[in-house]
Amino acid sequence: MIELINVTKTYANGVDVLLNVNLHIGKEEFIFIVGPSGAGKTSLMKLLYREERPTVGQVIVDRVNVVELNADQIPYLRRNIGVVFQDYKLLPKRTVFENVAFALRVTGAPRSTIRRKAMQSLELVGMLRRANAFPEQLSGGEKQRACIARAIVNNPPILLADEPTGNLDPTTSWDIIQLLDKINRRHTTVLVATHNKNIVDDMKRRVVALESGRVVRDQQLGGYNV
């Protein structure tokens, strides 16, 4: 599903955020990307939805080499990749429903489809009863559920979550990870970048550890540390 081949990303100031990274992620896998801040987790995710381009190497997503996509093709790549952010990135002046519907609206979907799919998505994340609330009225966990609802509303085959529990307390964090697991079982490939040790250790999934831009460990049923 996802393939990184000899990927190096060097910023203009000469810092290598990713160095010769090779990674293969299969269909419907659930994988943790772990490592300290600045290890390159976020950069790796950004390469996948073409927020950034690698300096060297190839990035294949769903059989498409995303490095070579031109600007007109990027939107269609992103409709196939849901992204969940640590800071949620919800539009503040819109309700939860509108935020979720927004992701469908921009694809030009008809109104009836938008309503049905947005409702389904909100139901899946358990936010149906908060559909008409504004982001500022929500708790952190609710905001993250809304963000996930938006990420999956297009039924993308891939879901990326960058520090999804970074701003949440342990119980809420666990709920969010359970939700991501549930989405994974609905045949979605899920990548979670995190430095939450407890969650990684409890979930016992494939773990890829990054350190200073290099893959230092790739382990099935792994924990946060060796």
Partner: protein, 295 residues
């Protein structure tokens, strides 16, 4: 597509209302810029009209030998009117010229008492199609039999000619310059309204909106701002122009100010359409720049 159009309109109106202050600032800027633009446009139209009127008054006076018969004069008039570039030829008989002259002096001086008989010659007043033709036509007229003397104010014509072209070229340059300045101001003002929504744009891009899709609501908003700005500047300009013109007409009645409604309507339409185009172009340039910066 229909549902998209609806979405674009709703989004445009939403942002129009939400960024109330920015919207007012943008409309105000476009209005002020267009009023200045329209003011110069009307100034140029008027100047050009004034010099045009003066230059169109320029004609050739051909004095005829006194002993010509009226019949021969008629034949000569026909011949003169066939010269290429001649618009019309008026015959002013010496009697008529003498009467006119006496009338001009009016009661202040009785010319008939001072001068005995009529010293004036018959005269042809020859109007040419364009001022440039004056000298060449004058030369041809002078070559005709029975023509005693030809007069036209050649030097003055040349000067007025250069004034006309200076006003037209300078006016056009000024209008182009002000258009550019207006566009710059509008682009930068609308840029602020776009920048205020940068988060929205980046989220739209992240969830897979195409650039075209992101652009439309902004362009519609720009058109809306432009139409309102254009209309406001039209109202302001029309009211002030009508006031100024009625004052000038009262004070300087001989000045040929432009009151031709068709021409004025043209200027006002240019302003409203110009405002619309400015708003649209301003929004397009701003949002395109931001989208480029977004990758």
């Amino acid at each position: 597509m229909f549902s998209n159009l609806e979405f674009f309109l709703v989004e445009a109106l939403r942002s129009f209302r939400r960024g109330a202050l920015m919207t007012v600032v943008a409309i105000g800027t476009i209005t002020v810029a267009l009023v200045i633009f329209g003011f110069f446009l009307l100034l140029v139209v008027n100047l050009s009209n004034i010099v045009g009127t003066f230059s169109s008054k320029m004609d050739i006076a051909a004095y005829v030998e006194s002993d010509i018969s009226l019949a021969n004069a008629g034949v000569l008039q026909l011949k003169l009117s066939k010269i290429p570039g001649v618009l019309k030829v008026d015959f002013i008989s010496k009697t008529e010229a003498w009467r006119n002259l006496k009338q001009e002096f009016g009661t202040s001086l009785n010319l008939g008492e001072i001068i005995v008989g009529n010293p004036l010659p018959h005269t042809f007043n020859i109007t040419v199609r364009t001022p440039e033709l004056l000298s060449s036509v004058a030369k041809q007229v002078a070559g005709f039999q029975n023509i005693d003397e030809v007069r036209y104010s050649g030097k003055l014509i040349d000067q007025i000619q250069s004034l006309v072209s200076a006003v037209r070229i300078g006016g056009a340059a000024l209008v182009i310059l002000i258009s550019f300045a207006t566009l710059l101001i509008v682009v930068n003002t609308i840029r602020l309204t776009v920048l205020a929504r940068e988060t929205d744009i980046s989220i739209m891009k992240l969830v897979g909106a195409t650039n075209t899709f992101v652009k439309w609501p902004f362009i519609i908003e720009g058109i809306l701002i432009g139409v309102i700005g254009g209309f406001l500047s039209f109202v302001i300009l029309k009211l002030s122009y009508d006031t100024i013109i009625s004052r000038i007409s009262a004070a300087l009645p001989f000045l040929p100010v432009v009151t031709n409604q068709t021409l004025l309507t043209g200027v006002y339409i240019v302003m409203i359409l110009g405002g619309t185009a400015l708003g649209m172009l301003g929004a397009y340039i701003s949002v395109t720049r931001i989208l480029k910066a977004e990758v």
